[in-house]
């Protein structure tokens, strides 16, 4: 098992260096001077140009710049934002809990609804439940989620006035945030209504972000379940006279869930891409909105650093999923 984990990490290291090269190359090698680009239409004075060039190290040879950047990365130095002057890593760490909270809510919704729906659809294959669920899943899978978010805002925030339009917490409340997770912090604060406010802010973005993973998980669960239900050992279990519930929940489900676990793991990339859109629509102060804002502001050190950090998160989660997959499915390890 250890060898399996180590070999996976071995693949990760060159990929990470590659990711750093790509992020670096985007900003430095593509046509256009990044400093001129960053300064936008207003132009830039010559002194300021020279100052920025020296500050960002752009006056030195490219390989030297890249080496410095890479060694800096390994020491946790992702450069400073040009707009706020704060370290990129620090900004990332401040905003990351908001994205984790949103993503966890989304993936929990997706798993809690998607897996049972997929199982039921597989058991009742061809029934109206199966057809409606799979129709809904395909619609969810085809959904432009930024539009879906706007529709929910129109209905729940505009028409029914149930939920707020944006942000994580009503301005009425103010408290320390030791964990960065609004659901936990609002409970810890002991202020009446704070938790409710946190939930009402979280529910719409959570639903929007959950839409595509939910659809994918439901479809994947159904097809994995159908495949397993056709296997000989399931027929044997049925022939032994076991109850239908036991056959499904004990014999079939365990094996059907193996590919589903991989699917859930793969959703992390989908969640990160979805976070960009969801956070922008709901003004959710997470890393997705941070990346989009930095792109608008041409804050290239942030774009570069953020790109690497997000790729790193995705890579680490995928590694964990791979290891988990090895744990539940011993056949993979020996390969």
């Amino acid at each position: 098992m250890l060898r399996f984990i180590l070999s996976r990490i071995g693949v990760l290291v060159p990929t990470f260096v590659g990711v750093a090269i790509v992020a670096f190359a985007f900003i430095r090698l593509l046509p256009g001077d990044p400093i001129i680009l960053m300064s936008g239409e207003r132009g830039i004075s010559e002194e300021r140009y020279a100052q920025l060039q020296a500050m960002l190290g752009y006056d030195r040879p490219l390989p030297v710049q890249f080496w410095d950047y890479l060694t800096g990365l390994l020491q946790g130095d992702f450069g400073n934002s040009i707009v706020t002057n704060r370290p990129v890593l620090e900004e990332f760490m401040t905003l990351f809990p908001a994205t984790i909270e949103l993503s966890l809510v989304a993936i929990t919704l997706a798993v809690l609804i998607g897996i049972p729906a997929g199982i039921l659809a597989a058991i009742k294959r061809g029934s109206w439940f199966d057809q409606v669920t799979m129709g809904a899943a395909l619609t969810g899978y085809s959904m432009p989620i930024f539009w879906w978010g706007l529709l929910l805002i129109i209905f729940f925030s505009g028409y029914l006035q149930w939920t707020p339009v944006s942000g994580r917490m009503s301005l009425m409340f103010y408290f320390d945030q030791p964990t960065g997770f609004m659901l936990i912090d609002s409970l810890l604060s002991g202020q009446e209504g704070a938790f409710k406010s946190a939930v009402s802010h979280l529910i719409l973005p959570g639903v929007v972000l959950a839409t595509i993973p939910l659809a994918v998980i439901a479809r994947q669960t159904r097809s994995a379940m159908l495949e397993v239900l056709g296997e000989d050992y399931v027929r044997t279990a049925r022939a032994k006279g076991l109850s239908a519930f036991r056959v499904v929940s004990v014999h079939a489900l365990r094996n059907a869930l193996i590919p589903v676990v991989t699917t859930i793991g793969l959703q992390i990339g989908v969640l990160m891409a979805g976070a960009i859109l969801t956070e922008t629509i709901f003004s959710w102060p997470g890393i997705g909105k941070w990346m989009v804002d930095s792109v608008y502001r041409r804050d290239y050190p942030v774009v570069q650093g953020g790109l690497i950090l997000i790729a790193l998160v995705v890579m680490i989660v995928n590694l964990i999923v791979d290891v988990l997959y090895g744990l539940i499915n011993p056949r993979v390890r020996t390969r």
Partner: protein, 313 residues
Amino acid sequence: MSHVEADEAREGIGAGIEDRKAKVSPRRQMLKEFWYYFSENKGAVVGLYVFIAIILIAIFAPVLAPYDATAQNRGALLVPPVWADNGSWAYILGTDAVGRDMLSRLIYGARYSLTIGLVVVTLAVTVGISVGLIAGYVRGWVDIVIMRLMDIILAFPSLLLALVLVAVLGPGLLNAMIAIALVLQPHFVRLTRASVMAEKQREYVTAARVVGASPLRLMVVTILPNCLGPLIVQATLSFSSAILDAAALGFLGLGAQPPTPEWGTMLADAQEFVLRAWWVVTFPGLAILITVLAINLVGDGLRDALDPKMKRS
């Protein structure tokens, strides 16, 4: 379509020749068989009809659209659709904030979405298949370098990578299409490589090599046609992802630029009217959803018809 030839290969080259001669046309037979399995899936057939309708709308946009897509009418700002209060038959789906006819913009928008899908898929497929063929056929360090590169591209969430690429290349529809094609092509590389590696071991490939086929001929003429099934399915799915991603980039202000009637860009303009004029928000998104859903339905049907594993179940 591929399994007929694959079966033949399994039995040994030429085993089916007698049969083949007897039939009128094997191509027609294959097409018939394909349609048989495809039409089993009712959703796929509906999706296909809707998709054809969208193509026709795109082609005949100038005939169908009642107004010019960018013509502004200062006298008719934010007119609601015909069935709502204050709606008018002059603007069936209402007008936007500068008095442009929604219906006409949606009709012209179909042209953009289909073009985006077509261009992106063509780019991603040609590059992806060529690179994948080389990786799977040549193997060795070439393969390792290519696959590492693909891993790197796949390590980024696709929309994020496209977003940053477009930001650096400059906002616009063409750059958006290039960026999306780049993030979609690793899937084609992986798929092609995997099928090439599997097919390469088959006897019919060895036979072709013994006869003296060149590597290029082996790759393109002998092996590739037998890997097409999964690639066609992937291309369909990529078509819909391309439309979705381009709309997302347009929505973020980095894809097609106003006043282009691209559906995502229309939504970006409409965002500030979310609580005042529901129709400027609802219709462009609905157009995206219907188009993408139709294509995905077709994709599901294609998978049923082309994947021999699904066929047996």
